[in-house]
Amino acid sequence: MSKEIMKKGRFGQYGGQYIPETLMNEIKKLEEAYAYYQKDEAFCKELDTLLKEYAGRPSLLYYAEKMTEDLGGAKIYIKREDLNHTGSHKINNVLGQVLLAKKMGKTRVIAETGAGQHGVATATAAALLGLECEIFMGKLDTQRQALNVYRMELLGAKVHPVTSGTMTLKDAVNEAMREWTNRVDDTLYVLGSVMGPHPFPTIVRDFQSVISKEAREQILEKEGKLPDAVVACVGGGSNAMGMFYNFIGDENVRLIGCEAAGHGINTDQHAATIAKGSLGVFHGMKSLFCQNEEGQISEVYSISAGLDYPGIGPEHAYLHETGRARYVSITDEEAVSAFEYIARTEGIICAIESAHAVAHVMKLAPTMSKDEIIIICLSGRGDKDVAAIARYRGVDLHE
């Protein structure tokens, strides 16, 4: 086991570089460029300035007093990634990757998107830094999130609706990978989550780890101690990895990921990879996937387009295997109730993805004592979801 951990690009047995030969040299170039620029003072300074001056970091660590009182247990803090420019944690990663692309001499970036948050963030960073941008989005998702499609177009990106397969996030990744094999010389694939072939899971984690770096300092300043638990939603797992990373060494901090149980993990309509998935190799990585007994990747389902993915990043699979992090499943109904709850209680309309984490905290906080602390990563804002929630509740909206 320890020998495996030492292997490049692996988290235990998970990770690796399972991609076509056409991409191998390019992925190695990315690996080298990242190794160089992550230590380059000018690059780090430029990124830091973008995060502060453009994205609005540091994000607030907000004490949710009403929620704390109402739930009657642990003290609840909310890491407000929803307040970042473009409305989610996705901006942390894309500013890093698009800046890296520019340093590598690339003139074009491509990306996949599910809910559209990563697509919007990538289009934003590309507009700011002057790169061409093309986004691949499942056709079904372009319909569920039509507003985000228009947003990306306003930002100058070209959006390709993907009509293959299940027409959702997994197919958008397939198509973005195909496009990358078609054109690597001037193009970087800006992957949106802690998944795909090495070095993406590491790059995305590093750029997202600013979340826990700040949160750790902020909670120490406010409370003089570390939290007892941090909770985040998990699709591919980028906001959760960002939220967990700087707490991994703090053994007394419980790390909890919330995956989408859709209509329930005992139905065939969920996206709960840790609860129901199995080991496999897909999208460039060895990890856990929802798949059938033949190794065919399953169609997954969640009310949240951002969690509607049949796999999970390799480092999460590893944290699960070692028991360092724990993963729970949250149904659509629980998430929608939490979405409504935090709106009423704290006046925050959060992303339906993030509502999965809120839902778990609603169960967890009352079981903990008043001197214990929970931090929720509120990964994004929920404007994009309002229409879908209304539909879910049977409310007919006319815009």
Binding site: Q17, I19, T22, L23, N25, V281, Q296
Partner: protein, 256 residues
């Protein structure tokens, strides 16, 4: 000498690809035998996968048709066993890694040997990752076939020197699919391969016309055609035999 070696012995090989189970496995057997009769020297059989990331739209759709026809790995093995009883043509699987991983590397390769499969091409398993399967493939005398791409550059020597069966030279950037023009300097790539190995080199991706086949066979040891064949099957469904025969014959005849 292996069946794959024989396919390249003193001649240029025409390699034909189809997706197993498209439109059904009975037809797969018929079409394989038809293409062999027309002169195909090696048959590449694709195991259908839900998410074939290296394939263009033509072969993607063949994968979907095959999966809808309830094609499973086990059924493909049974069919290949039946084909093997009727022909000595070398048979090579093209499969994404996940179905093999799920079947179990040892069990899958043992079954390959039992059914008479001579080689295996895994487009999502590059040189760096093949360690987890290489020894097992060797144990069952199944050649793990390596791919070389237009972007491989300094990797060509490393890959070619360890190549088994034949080297699959990817003609173009991107995914599989018919192309009217192939711009890569394939002659130089084949030159580097030849300096590093005696294993034959066959060119695939984008080839569909006898003119292209004739041109590439002047410096490569073989030509691989997939999408053009799958298109004929897509168009004719269960009645593709005659057109496949004529097409494969025209391609084989064009190879010098």
């Amino acid at each position: 000498m292996s069946r794959i070696d024989k396919a390249f012995e003193n001649k240029k090989a025409f390699i034909a690809f189809l997706t197993a189970g498209d439109p059904n496995l009975e037809k797969t057997e018929e079409y394989v035998l038809k293409m062999v009769e027309a002169g195909a020297d090696l048959i590449e059989i694709g195991i259908p996968f839900s998410d074939p990331i290296a394939e263009g739209i033509v072969i993607q759709e063949a994968n979907i048709r095959a999966l809808r026809a309830k094609t499973t790995v086990e059924k493909v093995f049974e069919k290949v066993k039946s084909i093997r009883r009727k022909t000595d043509v070398p048979l090579v699987f093209l499969t994404y890694l996940n179905p093999v991983f799920h079947y179990g590397y040892d069990a899958f390769l043992a079954k390959c040997k039992e059914c008479g499969v001579d080689g295996i091409i895994i487009p999502d398993m590059p040189y760096e990752e093949k360690g987890e399967i290489l020894d097992i493939a060797g144990k069952y005398d199944v050649d793990l076939i390596s791919m070389i791409a237009p972007t491989s550059e300094e990797r060509i020597g490393m890959i070619a020197s360890k190549a088994k069966g034949f080297v699959y030279v990817v003609s173009s950037m991107g995914v599989t699919g018919v192309r009217s023009e192939i711009k890569t300097d394939l002659e130089s790539i084949v030159d580097v391969i030849k300096k590093n190995t005696d294993t034959p080199a066959a060119i695939g991706f984008g080839i569909s016309t006898p003119e292209q086949a004739s041109h590439f066979s002047q410096f490569a040891d073989g030509v691989i055609v997939g999408s053009a064949i799958v298109k004929i099957i897509a168009k004719n469904g269960e009645n593709a035999g005659e057109e496949l025969y004529n097409y494969v014959k025209s391609m084989k005849d064009a190879i010098v």
